[in-house]
Symmetry: D2
Subunit: 158 residues, 4 copies
Amino acid sequence: VPDADRFTPRDPDFERRVRENFARQSFMHTLGATLRSVAPGEVAIELVPRAELTQQHGYVHAGVVTSIVDNACGYAALSLMPAGSEVLAVEFKVNLLAPAVGSLLVARARVVRSGRTLTVCQGDVFAHTADGERHVAMMQATIIRMDAASARPEAAGE
Amino acid sequence: VPDADRFTPRDPDFERRVRENFARQSFMHTLGATLRSVAPGEVAIELVPRAELTQQHGYVHAGVVTSIVDNACGYAALSLMPAGSEVLAVEFKVNLLAPAVGSLLVARARVVRSGRTLTVCQGDVFAHTADGERHVAMMQATIIRMDAASARPEAAGE
Amino acid sequence: VPDADRFTPRDPDFERRVRENFARQSFMHTLGATLRSVAPGEVAIELVPRAELTQQHGYVHAGVVTSIVDNACGYAALSLMPAGSEVLAVEFKVNLLAPAVGSLLVARARVVRSGRTLTVCQGDVFAHTADGERHVAMMQATIIRMDAASARPEAAGE
Amino acid sequence: VPDADRFTPRDPDFERRVRENFARQSFMHTLGATLRSVAPGEVAIELVPRAELTQQHGYVHAGVVTSIVDNACGYAALSLMPAGSEVLAVEFKVNLLAPAVGSLLVARARVVRSGRTLTVCQGDVFAHTADGERHVAMMQATIIRMDAASARPEAAGE
């Protein structure tokens, strides 16, 4: 069954690898984003909104929303790859569905197709509000695998 | 001629309006991004890369790159709208072409189609490197116009 | 509950309206595509692959795959709109996951967010193959509502 | 200079290769689309609108518009690749800007970034109307190179 295969990690140490990689992302620290959960092919990242991250109406900026769901997609992809892999986003598309306001933002991503070179992920961002959970954004993303050893700066997007 | 019309701003005070709106974006201050130029239907935003904005390889995070070109698209759209307009991104798509490294990032956007409700923009991000200007990312975005007076939090994406 | 509301059609005659609209699409006849099911906010379209619809490797052309899932998205959106509405695609994004080969292609779409002006849909295409169902493509689309009475040719994309 | 390199084809026989590949696409024949021009990194495809290709308002269907600009992107990519290469679309995003009506549709695509594995293209569709040329659609697409010899059906999207 393809779906079962898809969620069998090739590296049993996938969670540690994802968490170490996340810890090296300065921008996630700047945003105050944290890894909420790491499962094979599924990652969630959360963020507490604050004034420094807002746009002109006081909502969390679309770029912040994109940043956390882009990362959730990348780490969902990485979780299924063999040890020694690195990931880069090739492209993503985001639909903004509602203002990103609330006490917490959670970005959840899952692998839809895991190929040898390219992985396709689907991600969503939800906001915790007084009225419950609101669907804030959705993403469709393509991620490329690279060998960590040969990861060259000029290879981005390739 | 449609193209000439497209670049005739309906509000002669468009530049002040764009600059005031930009100044209200806390997240742009957090990133250290600045408005480089505002012309009818064309806006450029620049950013000096620094460690707080990087991902795991030391490149500027794709979410930061997206934030400045998303804003450049939004303000390019706003520059052609009548006074009393507000803009929200409906969706955008980004292709990441090369690592965002260098002494300066510049996001340039231009209006491709300016409608009564929806505006479509095309944007690019370039990095200034020792070897010259490198094309780092490209965006295709849809922006919606709202009346500032009636801008309701629940209207995002509508 | 937002999700329940979302799937309550405003026009009880929604299915007839969708089927009549589909019947007016010459291109669907040219492709041999048929409406498989129409539920509130969810539509499926199917197509039997044949040689006239293939690209250079003998797979069904990505443009055909896109055509049926684009239509499934548009009709999912239309199913929730009041009588007298028309729909136009504003934009869509497609990831091609596997070759479109098999005895049948089925495009399924569902409304993710139904706004007054804009509707966002998510769609998938599956191929029936000897090994079971294969996920061939996924789409994220924005659809705009127009009044049928005032639908003007120049309004597309607005 | 990167831009000059970009448009130097690695296979001097690129035009014949593109034209032969196009000729094998049954769906292009079904649509009545023809190759208008093939230059290194730039391809144009044209189509005369007819009733069989229309949607419910009598415009050329968005799926047809997508098909020709998707192909223009793919062949622009192929024109810069070494002999023995095949291309597959990984993903594309289309914004529909105006109704596709007129005496002729022309899809023009150009390579923006040509990598070893992935190529990114930008495409536009214009309609010839009584009032001149109208910008109907724009696309941003990612194309993957495969070796023709090892092109396996299961590799699509990889």
